[in-house]
Amino acid sequence: MYCKNDYSNPKVYLDLKEVSKNFLYTNSNMMNVVLENVNVQILDGEFVTIIGKSGCGKTTLLNIIAGFENSFGGEILLDGQPIRNISPDRVMLFQESALFPWLTTFQNIDVALKMAKIPKDQREQIIKHYLKIVDLTDYSDSYIHQLSGGMKQRVSLARALALNPKILLMDEPFAALDISIKNSLYKELLELHRKTRKTILFVTHNINEAILLGDRVILMSPKLCSIKKEYIIDIPKDERINNPNIKNLIDQITLDLYEDE
């Protein structure tokens, strides 16, 4: 499967082969199968959204790709190389922004670059560049608690992009935000994607969001512990709002989502 979008080249960037994950309960002999036989190929520059009911393993899958879960079955290749541990190659954005409250906006991005061992003479330029991209230059000396929820996620985005990762993993980053803020963040995120051509994996439980943002939507099922269906969305992103085909797709996915019940 590939996307006919104009801003991704059909090179397989992230390849998941027969990925599975079990959680063992230490007290009993029970085992909880969360993922089983997950096979999917993400293309370079593709924006893929993942939806599914609670317990379908979407967050676990993201954690495995990021390296937060070390043991899993199967194989994951990024740009041809098997993934190893945690790395700034695969940066994750969380629902609650993991910005450091003891630092200012500028310092938060700075410390990220320090940890990624970027030399000092390059850091300031990089920080200023990405702050400009997310339109928060005026807030570079504010402390995190002075920022709104939406602003915090924008700083998190800037920080993630400043690390120049190979893939951006986003775990319901907008779930806790107001709908008006969400809408402006969608625009911003899509614009960023268009500019930077980053490969993005975006997990959400919001079908609207998944369809508005994704080149491709992957539906996962807790019953299968795997991917149930994939939907490629050919409609250009700026034409998706109030589009009747999109509305049909929303209905279709909703149906598929609740089919097992």
Binding site: I86, P88, F94, F100, W102, V111
Partner: protein
Amino acid sequence: MESQIKSSKKKYNLSKNIVNKDTLSLIVFIVSFLALWQLVYMLEIWPKVSLPSPFAVGQTIVDLLSDFTLVKGTAISLWRLFLGFLMSISIGLIVGLIMVKFLHFGKTMSSFALGLQSFPSIAWIPFAILLIGFNDYGILFVVVMSSVFSVMLSTYSGIQNISPIYIKAAKNMGAKGFSLFRYVLIPAATPSLIIGMRQAWSFAWHALIGAEMLITTLVGLGHILAVGREFSNMSQIIATMLVIFAIGLVFDRFVFSKIEEKVRDRWGLNQQQN
């Protein structure tokens, strides 16, 4: 422009009002306290020999200051306090970090430390006298034993209680080992560390005066108290008590409170409801 000046003037007046109210109530409090004291003295609820008047104590303070006893005593006591406090911080931080690194040791040690944290500081003195000596080092030993566990525990729990998401994010960005420690663990644990240090300071001060009173070969504020008792000089005793009280207050209010405020401000923990 004019309205800006007006509103800033208004702000200034308002804050002046608040300052005035606070200082006013403080002055009223102190004056009432002194008046009550004078009343108790004049009514001879305790014999005049046992409880001197505030004026007599005031005079004693002046005397003790002019012959430098108070100055010397304060200086020596504070010197011991700084030394002991510094030692407590160093040992407490290091052991606290070891506790975090080796979790089994950490768990056992924390129960041990909790018990010792509330151990009466005076009860260390006989042990210190026999083991270390009836000298400065004995006093320092008591001071350290009374305060080190606060630092240890606050370091341990401070780091243990760091929101795991900060550590997750930091590791994601490539931090490990020392850089994780330096860029995340210590800054994230700072609010807890400061609270621990504040408590350690307070315990150290308590322990110090007690130790100075009983290990009396050397000068210090506690020593002055002990001498006052020897010579039944109540004025001297009360005067010294006031100095001890003042020092404790000054350090807590103008040093530790300020530092804690600053950290809480930065973290946004001081959100006020209007």
